[in-house]
Structures are given as structure tokens and as C-alpha cells.
């Protein structure tokens, strides 16, 4: 959050500084790998709102570690990348702030142990990603896409909150670790169905599953580093993370409830197919990547469903291992490809894949990274993508439900991999081969920071593929154990083997893989034909929830808002006040009338006579006279004096009724108010322009109604002192615990000091407001307005302080 300030101080070095911070965090998490791989869980908790069982607790297990490594590892390169990609942007500091904020919330999300803490970080990622997607705030499209992403994921977040609260009710604890440790499964609870539905809505909106997937391609208007980060390894993976995290609880571990499995498999499978299909019809660089990300997310969700469906624990673990491998591989190749896309755009300012070609010779490093990522995405050995795909296919063939669904899913996965191969070639290979296209300026390789990220991620995928025992296997093993709910003792026995030797010896899975690669390459060659054939299907994408979103959001919400604005907020303050007062009369009046109105039958005058001393009578008479005079007199001065009289008499009343502190304050305030009013009054015009007679009678009616209502309220309150006043607490502890004999003062500065703190802050704000109002002199079309002339200060001074204040406001925003 300090990034803008750091940026100003450190200038160009900011990127390196922040990258160092992120890098250190990444190294920290990497150092935890050996520990976590043993099945350990690190935990840290701070009580936050103990009354609600909310604590700021974090825990690090295999699954969290996988994601934490992705967040920080990819994040490191993203920061470096952004520092180059956006280096000319004036708002780079703000960008860093958003990015670091997002990174922190994402880390919090994957590390959170308390489900409400998790939810808070979940929402923080929505908000910070909104800022990131809409970073180019001058572009209406970016703003719209950002808003769309926020509304979709935000409303999903609401559903999630409800689901998580129900889960806490059902399980009796808010700590995920306690739920997991006790082997709690929600399927026994009667709240199970609502919990699952609500959590799924939350996860599906975040992870862009059909029918909520439409926001993700829209979010591509973000700067490339943002898309690369949000869509390869973080934001959209949050939903996947949540589902994986809750699998042992909601899916019931192995052999879990059917509904969970079927929903996840069907939705995930459909998303996978549809995403891949739509992507294959795009030519816009980032749109291809966006839809292919949708497809990958679908695959992950489908796999999560398969974990629960596995008949035996071993199969569940194997499926989970496939999932974890795929998540790792996907983060590497997709992150790399997004950055490549940005680098290409940066170099040639073209966004259409088909128009770009032959860049391999001028941008060797970028091209190398892109090709590595492509191979990984295609699932060609020896890269990690191959291992992931094999693992997935093997488990789907071996451990699937064995039913129709299982068979269908295998076919779907095969079809999706064919299309994925096409997509990989399209974005990773196409721009770098063939004849060099002509551009206005010769394309050139970007600076190191632009290609370092893709290259590093590509290398990571390669190393992980060739030598999985280095880091991929331990991470995958620990993550899979967390997803499948494998106890710590059995961790070592888990069948996780990502070595090439092992994977290359598998039968049918390998054939499917090879077939998919061949078909994909073929499709790549014939892609123009493919696009022509499938054109009619394009319209289907409109059948998604985007239509509904538009209808609800624009037609419904905004329409209603503008309607109510036209009726109730027509710009006249007097109309507002009338409406407010009438509403008060209607609502409070009804409530009061409903409460019986026992006080109404009382003999008011008799009560007053019996209960009033001389001095009170005099004071009240003066107050009433002053109030009436203030409304009726025609002179400004007289009206002010009348109001002042009311104030002083009320102060005396406070004396009579035993509140000397209040009385002293009231005297002082009244004096100062009158002085200030007198300072101003002579510069205002006389009272004139009275309202029409009917209007005055109408207003008087409202006023009298409010007055009667308030009298009734006081009487009702006095005759209804039901609860024991809290004052005894203060009366007894003021001296013993607050060391003060003036109970009122002790309440102010001790018992309720936080309130007082807020109040003096308000005072400060009012003072600053007044100062600003008096100093800022607006200029109209460059000229100093006639009223800006002031004694002692030239127009220039007023203007300067005005701009200075405006700049202060602007600087205040990003921090």
C-alpha cells in the first residue's frame, strides 16, 4: 500500500524493490516445501472478533503452499514485467499499489484458515482485481469490464458468504483445520444442499464457469501483466482453490455424494468444451488466451468433481495429483503465454494473431519462451504439461465413475485437448514463424524484464517435466493429499509419480494424448476452414448469463435507480426535506399509534401544573417565545437573537436538571455560534421572497405534525422505561476504574473514548472543510470569477491554494 510513496522516492528502482519483497516471500514459501511435504501444517492465529468466532487464523498445508507458491512465484515475474511494460505510465505507482494489494489478498485467501477470514480476502481480491482490470480508467470499455467482473464475482461472493456461514453453523467451528481434523463432512447436515449450492455459485462466478464465464474475456481489457497474473495463477484460481479446499468437507472425500460430483463434472466439462471451442474461433491474441483459460478452469473443476467420485482413496489421491499437476503446469504455460502476448503487442502493436508472423528471428528470447510454453500446453513430453495431461487422462480412464458420465468426460477431455493443441499453436507458435510481416516500425526484442518472466516460467515447466523429483512432486503430493483428505501417515505411500519413464509406459492414455496432438496440429493447419464451418455456432455464446446480466443490471437496477432519482431527488432541497419529514411522520407516527398511545389521554395541562417549578416555567416560556419569534420575525438580526435566546435558556434548563457540564458547553457554544452568525449575517441579503400562502400552510402542517410526533415520542419513552439503564455501570465504576468523580467526563474520555475520538475527528474534518470552502476560489474558463476578489489576498493566491488542495485530494486516493 505504500507503493506510490516508494515509487516517488525510488523512481525506476521501485519495480526491483517490490520484486525483491515478493521474491523473498516466494523463497520463504519454497523453503517450507520440505516441511509441508512431510504432511505438517503450519498455523498461526490472532483473535479478532472472539464473540463471533472470527479469528485471523492462517494455516499452511500442501494445497495452500501450492497456491502460495504460484501467487508469489508468478507474482515476482509479473512485478518485473509490469515495471517494464508500464514504465511510461504516469500512474505506475498506483498500479503497484493495486497489484501488491491484490497479491496480499490472494495470499491471505489461500492461507486463511478461518472461513470468514477466507471470505474477507475473497472479497478483497474481487475489489483489488476490479481496480486492476479497470486500471486504464479513461477507457470506457475497461471500466465496463471491470464493473462487470466486480458485479459478477461480487454477487457470487454474497452467495459464498451465506454458504460459509451455514457451513460454520453446520460444523460448529469456523476453522477449516478443525473441520478437516475432525473428519467433518457436511453431507450429514440438513443444511447440506443450501451450503453446496451457495458455495458453488460463489466458486463458479469466481472461476468463470458456464454460465458465468462471460466476465473473464471482458476482463482482458486490463494491461497484459494483469491478465497474465489474474488469469494464469490467481484470481480465477480462487474458485478452484475453494472447491479443492472444501472437497473433503462438502464432497465427503472418496465416494462422496453424487450431486456434488455430477454438478462439478457437468459444469466443468461443459465449460472446458465451450471455452476451448470459442477460443478456437478467436483471432484476437488475448481473447484466445482468455477463452482457453476458461476451458482450463473447466477442466480443473471437472477434476475436482472426479476426486470425490473416485471409488477408493488411492484413486482419489491420484486424481487429486493430476489436478495439482495441471494447476502447476497451467500457471507456468498460461502465465508465460499471456506475458508473451503482451510483449508481442508491445513490440508490434498488433493484437490479431493472424496478422503477426515471423517474429522468431527478431525476438528470439520471447519466441523461445513462447514455444516452450506452447509445447507444455500441447502436452508434449518432456514438459510438465505432458505429465499433467497424462496424469489426468490416466486417472480418468482408470478411476472414473465407470458409468456413462465417466466415458463422456473422457471423450470431452480428449476433444478439449485437440482444441487446446490448436490454441497453443495459434498463440505460441504462429506469431513467430512464417514470413515477417510488415509493420510501420521494425519490431525488436523488448528489455530483459519483458522476456525474463516467460522464459523463467517456461524453464520451470521444462525442469519440472524432466526432473519432477526436484520440486514438482513434493508440492503436488502434499497438495493432492490435502484435496483428497489423505491422513498424514499415508502421505508417503501416495501414488504420485510424474517421471517421464513412468508416464511414457501407459497405454490408452498415451494414445489419446498422441492422437490429440496429431489432430490438433491438423486442425491448426486447417484453421481457416474450421472457423468457416463453425461460424453459425457463434451465436450460442449469447445464450449465456451475459444477457441476463445486462438485463438485470442495466434494465433493472439502473432503471429503477434513475426512476427513483427523477421522482425523489429533483434537485430541490425543500422537496427533499418535505419528503423526509413526511416519511418520518408516516413511519414513526404509525409505530407510535400502534404502541397504544396510553399517554395521549393524559391531562397535559394538569400534568404540567403539577410538575413544574417557577423557574422552569419561565425558562420554557422563553424558549417557546424564542422559537416562535425565530420563525416569524422579518429581521435577520432579530431571528438570530431569538435563536440565541432559545440556546441560552436551554443551557439554563440543563443547569436546573443537574447537567452542569452540558450547560457550560452549551453556553460557550451558543456564544460562539451567535458571534459567527453575526459575522456572516451582514453580508447576506434581507429575508425576502416569501413562499405562497398555500405552501406556507402546507409546511406549517408538516412542522406541527413533526412537533406533535416528537412530543409523543418523549412521552412514550418516559412511560416505557423498561430496561435497567446502563448508567449504574458507570455510576459504580467511574471512580474505582476510571479514577474520576465527574461521571460524565469519565464516560467521555474513558468508557466511551472511542466515540469521542470519532467525534473530535469529525470536528477536525469540519474545520478543514470550512478552511477549504473559504480558500478555494473556483475559476470559470480560466478567469477569476467576480466573487473571488478578497481583501488581503490576490486572486492568484486563492487559485494556488485551490489547486494545492485538489492535488492533496488526488494524492490521498491511492494510498
Amino acid at each position: 500500500m505504500l507503493a506510490p510513496a516508494v515509487c516517488r522516492l525510488a523512481g525506476r528502482a521501485t519495480g526491483y524493490l517490490l520484486a525483491a519483497v515478493v521474491g523473498v516471500t516466494a523463497v520463504y514459501f519454497a523453503a517450507q516445501v520440505p516441511v509441508i511435504a512431510q504432511g505438517q501444517t503450519l498455523r498461526q492465529a490472532i483473535a479478532w472478533v472472539p464473540e463471533l468466532g472470527v479469528s485471523l487464523s492462517f494455516s499452511l498445508d500442501g494445497l495452500s503452499l501450492l497456491f502460495a507458491l504460484l501467487v508469489t512465484g508468478v507474482g515476482l515475474f509479473i512485478v518485473l514485467y509490469a515495471s517494464s511494460y508500464l514504465q511510461d505510465d504516469a500512474l505506475l505507482g498506483r498500479f503497484y499499489a493495486y497489484l501488491m494489494g491484490f497479491m496480499a489478498s490472494m495470499l491471505g485467501l489461500v492461507l486463511a484458515d478461518n472461513i470468514l477470514t477466507l471470505f474477507i480476502f475473497w472479497e478483497l481480491t474481487s475489489v483489488t482485481s476490479y481496480l486492476l482490470i479497470g486500471f486504464d480508467h479513461k477507457d470506457a470499455k475497461a471500466r465496463k469490464a471491470a464493473l462487470q467482473a466486480l458485479v459478477v464475482t461480487g454477487s457470487g461472493g454474497l452467495a459464498l458468504l451465506a454458504g460459509l456461514v451455514l457451513l460454520q453453523l453446520a460444523s460448529g467451528t469456523g476453522e477449516l483445520s478443525s473441520m478437516l481434523a475432525s473428519g467433518f463432512t457436511a453431507s450429514g447436515s440438513e443444511l447440506y444442499t443450501p451450503i453446496v449450492v451457495l458455495v458453488l455459485i460463489g466458486a463458479f462466478t469466481k472461476s468463470a464457469q458456464i454460465p458465468f464465464h462471460f466476465w473473464l474475456p471482458g476482463a482482458m481489457t486490463a494491461p497484459s501483466p494483469v491478465s497474465a497474473y489474474l488469469h494464469s495463477s490467481t484470481m480465477v484460481k480462487a474458485g478452484v482453490y475453494l472447491l479443492a479446499r472444501l472437497t473433503p468437507i462438502l464432497g465427503g472425500g472418496s465416494g462422496g455424494p453424487q450431486g456434488w460430483t455430477i454438478t462439478l463434472s457437468v459444469v466443468g466439462g461443459l465449460t472446458m468444451l465451450w471455452g476451448a471451442f470459442v477460443a478456437s474461433r478467436q483471432t484476437h491474441f488475448k481473447r484466445v488466451l482468455a477463452y482457453s483459460t476458461v476451458s482450463s478452469l473447466g477442466m480443473m473443476v471437472m477434476l475436482i468433481g472426479a476426486v470425490s467420485a473416485a471409488p477408493v482413496a488411492g484413486a482419489a489421491a491420484a486424481t487429486a495429483a493430476g489436478l495439482a499437476t495441471y494447476i502447476l503446469a497451467h500457471a507456468c504455460f498460461k502465465g508465460a503465454l499471456f506475458m508473451v502476448a503482451g510483449a508481442v503487442d508491445h513490440a508490434v502493436h498488433l493484437k490479431d494473431v493472424e496478422q503477426v508472423g515471423g517474429l522468431g528471428r527478431v525476438m528470439p528470447f520471447t519466441a523461445a519462451a513462447a514455444v516452450t510454453a506452447t509445447i507444455s500446453m500441447m502436452g508434449v513430453p518432456p514438459l510438465l504439461g505432458f505429465a499433467a495431461k497424462e496424469q489426468v487422462l490416466v486417472t480418468m480412464l482408470a478411476g472414473g465413475p465407470g458409468s456413462m458420465l465417466g466415458a463422456v468426460l473422457v471423450v470431452a477431455a480428449a476433444v478439449a485437448s485437440v482444441l487446446t493443441v490448436l490454441l497453443a499453436l495459434l498463440v505460441g507458435l504462429k506469431p513467430f514463424i512464417g514470413p515477417l510481416m510488415s509493420t510501420s516500425e521494425p519490431p525488436h526484442e523488448g528489455p530483459v524484464r519483458l522476456w525474463l518472466g516467460p522464459v523463467a516460467l517456461g524453464v520451470a515447466g521444462l525442469v519440472a517435466g524432466i526432473a519432477p523429483w526436484l520440486f514438482a512432486e513434493p508440492i503436488v503430493r502434499a497438495a493432492a493429499a490435502a484435496v483428497a483428505g489423505v491422513p498424514r501417515g499415508e502421505l508417503a505411500a501416495m501414488p504420485v509419480d510424474l517421471s517421464l519413464g513412468h508416464l511414457l509406459h501407459l497405454g490408452p492414455a498415451l494414445y489419446i494424448s498422441l492422437g490429440a496432438i496429431a489432430a490438433g496440429v491438423g486442425l491448426f493447419v486447417l484453421r481457416a476452414r474450421w472457423r468457416a464451418i463453425t461460424a453459425p455456432l457463434d451465436k450460442l455464446d449469447w445464450l449465456t448469463a451475459e444477457r441476463a446480466y445486462e438485463a438485470i443490471f442495466h434494465g433493472g437496477v439502473l432503471g429503477l435507480a434513475s426512476l427513483s432519482t427523477r421522482i425523489f431527488q429533483n434537485g430541490s432541497l425543500r422537496v427533499y426535506i418535505r419528503i423526509v419529514m413526511l416519511a418520518v411522520l408516516a413511519s414513526a407516527g404509525l409505530a407510535l399509534a400502534g404502541s397504544g398511545g396510553a399517554f395521549l389521554g393524559r391531562d397535559l395541562l394538569g400534568d404540567v401544573k403539577a410538575d413544574t417549578t417557577m423557574i422552569e416555567g419561565v425558562l420554557v416560556s422563553l424558549i417557546i417565545a424564542g422559537a416562535v419569534a425565530a420563525t416569524l420575525v422579518g429581521s435577520r438580526l432579530a431571528a438570530i437573537v431569538a435563536v440565541g435566546l432559545v440556546g441560552y435558556c436551554i443551557a439554563l434548563l440543563f443547569v436546573v436538571f443537574g447537567a452542569p457540564d452540558v450547560a457550560m458547553t452549551q453556553f460557550a457554544v451558543e456564544t460562539l455560534s451567535v458571534i459567527i452568525l453575526l459575522l456572516v449575517v451582514f453580508r447576506l441579503p434581507r429575508f425576502n421572497g416569501k413562499s405562497s400562502r398555500p405552501a406556507r400552510i402546507f409546511d406549517a402542517g408538516i412542522a406541527i405534525g413533526v412537533g406533535v410526533l416528537m412530543t409523543g415520542l418523549v412521552l412514550a419513552a418516559q412511560s416505557n422505561l423498561a430496561a435497567q439503564p446502563i448508567s449504574h455501570f458507570f455510576a459504580e465504576r467511574s471512580l474505582t476504574e476510571g479514577y474520576g468523580r465527574n461521571v460524565v467526563n469519565v464516560i467521555l474520555v474513558d468508557f466511551r473514548a472511542l466515540d469521542t475520538m470519532g467525534e473530535i475527528t469529525v470536528l477536525g474534518i469540519a474545520a478543514v472543510g470550512i478552511w477549504t470552502l473559504l480558500r478555494i476560489r473556483p475559476t470559470r474558463s480560466g478567469e477569476i470569477s467576480a466573487t473571488a476578489r478578497r481583501a488581503g489576498t490576490g486572486p492568484g493566491a486563492g487559485h494556488d491554494s485551490g489547486t494545492a488542495a485538489a492535488e492533496d485530494g488526488k494524492d490521498g486516493v491511492p494510498s
Binding site: 457554544v669 459567527i676 479514577y739 465527574n742 469519565v746 467521555l748 475520538m757 473530535i760 474545520a767
Partner: protein
């Protein structure tokens, strides 16, 4: 707006120190008797306003020594520090009163707690707010 009156000016010369003393007294005894930071701050501000009325706002600013907004800032800072004292140094919830007794030469024992310093913060804030408002308006 300055009211040029010899009587007012001589009265001011007498009243302003009295008001300042009164305000400090109200602040310090506020914990045990009617008074406190709010009232004290208002009385002190009234003294400033009186000075400004009779001798002009530059003289009132000289009386304040610092810019009124500085008082406001210092006041808020003192109040916040008083509030955060307990959680930061004693691990207790925010705004828990912490008391200490100090031996002061010639006065005897002095009992000071964060509520007292908090009240001083309130005093300074109120003084700063009201004085700044009034002086700005006077100079406008």
C-alpha cells in the same frame, strides 16, 4: 471586522488571560468536577475570538503562537496516541485506560492516565477547530 473600542480593548487585556486560565482549570479539574476538554477548549477558543474581535485577527494569531490547525493536528495525534497506548504497550484493547502515579517535586503525587491525556487531546482539537473557523471567517 474589528470593533475599535478602548473599553473593549482594556477589558480584553484583562479577560483573555482570565479566560485562558479558566479554560485550563476546566480542563484539569474536569475529571472530578464539571468541566473537561470540550468545555475547556471552547473557553480557550472564546478567548481567542475575543482577542480577534477587539485587537484584530493578527493579534489573535500571535496569541495562539501556532497556527490553529496545528493545534487541531496535535490534539488529534495526542488523542490517538492515548487510545493506542494500552494496546501497543500493554496488549490490552484499544482505549483501555492506563494510569500511572508520578512524584512531582513541590506538588506531590500526580496521577496521570491516558484518559487525562486523551482529554488534553480533545481540548487542543476543540481549540484548534473553533479558533481556525472563527479566524478564517473574520479574515474572509
Amino acid at each position: 471586522m474589528i470593533i475599535r473600542s478602548v473599553i473593549l480593548q482594556s477589558a480584553t487585556r484583562l479577560l483573555v488571560p482570565l479566560l485562558v486560565l479558566l479554560s485550563v482549570a476546566a480542563l484539569l479539574r474536569g475529571h472530578n468536577a464539571p468541566g473537561g476538554g470540550f468545555v475547556g477548549g471552547l473557553i480557550a477558543a472564546a478567548a481567542v475570538v475575543l482577542q480577534a474581535y477587539s485587537c484584530g485577527s493578527p493579534s489573535a494569531r500571535r496569541l495562539l503562537v501556532l497556527d490553529p490547525r496545528t493545534y487541531l493536528g496535535i490534539g488529534l495525534l495526542v488523542a490517538i496516541i492515548s487510545g493506542l497506548w494500552a494496546p501497543l504497550l500493554h496488549g490490552q484493547p484499544v482505549f483501555t485506560g492506563v494510569w500511572g502515579t508520578f512524584a512531582v517535586p513541590a506538588v506531590g503525587e500526580l496521577k496521570i492516565g491516558t484518559p487525562v491525556t486523551f482529554d488534553i487531546g480533545v481540548y487542543l482539537t476543540v481549540l484548534g477547530v473553533v479558533a481556525s473557523m472563527a479566524l478564517e471567517l473574520l479574515e474572509d
